[in-house]
Subunit: 173 residues, 2 copies
Amino acid sequence: MKRLIVDMDDVIADATGQFIQFYEKEFGVRVARESLNHQDEGLGFPGHHDVIQQFPFRETFFRTMTPHEGSQEVLERLNKEYQLFVVSAAMEFPQSLFEKLKWLEEHFKFLHWKQIVFCGSKAVVHGDYMIDDLAYNLDTFNGEKYIFSAPHNLHIHTYPRLNNWKEVGERFL
Amino acid sequence: MKRLIVDMDDVIADATGQFIQFYEKEFGVRVARESLNHQDEGLGFPGHHDVIQQFPFRETFFRTMTPHEGSQEVLERLNKEYQLFVVSAAMEFPQSLFEKLKWLEEHFKFLHWKQIVFCGSKAVVHGDYMIDDLAYNLDTFNGEKYIFSAPHNLHIHTYPRLNNWKEVGERFL
């Protein structure tokens, strides 16, 4: 069985949507998702608020994200055909570890805890395929690499692109 | 720089000593470390108490372990000569994640969060060398493997053995 490494934030979890929601709650302004396109993660919010340095350290930020459309169904099918690992670079945010584990238990019940990895650098994991929204995670990977579309990576053309979970299913199932 | 993967429990942290301490607090009996020799992890406690299914789920179990003698000094020196990762199969114990991270921050201040990995299965990590007390973690590793002595692995002769951190230093420094 081939080993498939899948990221969490902005791949199976709608992290961008969570930033927008937290921003709206805090500043009363609903930012359009498209307005974040082609800017690095966390940039593009009015007033240059550094949301990346704020929201991910807040309680419930990781626990209450919405799963990306189709991610649950497609990942459940992939789980039968691949040696699947969910690998998240979570170590920067100590309180996220427990929240992320509980989030996976809630939304991806078919995953065993043996399939979950929380790390700092993804350079240490290896496998046949990796799907991630951040180029620097893909850069150090030994296998085939796919970038999953998010506003902050639309200007990157280094890796084959999967725009949504329908396309993940078409490529891997 | 060669990549060195080092385990936590019973390699840099005295997990066996913590089991003995928790057992004494709970049952009033101080178990001799030597009496646990040559038995699987968690076995050998009087009354066949299944300590493995109990103590690791308790608060402070992972947070209050004692570092193994010499582990801090030797690991700090290894950190300058190797691409060092501390990899712990912690996912089975959800509350351990935060405790383990804080424990590392306290006792191994020289480690960056990028060097820490909490996983379920270690099959997903790769590197040049691995030091672990459990043979099944070494079994799936791609590089050179060393078993670190603990009461529960003294009967295993599959891998070269490092008995303590002095020996780790002699092998790797």
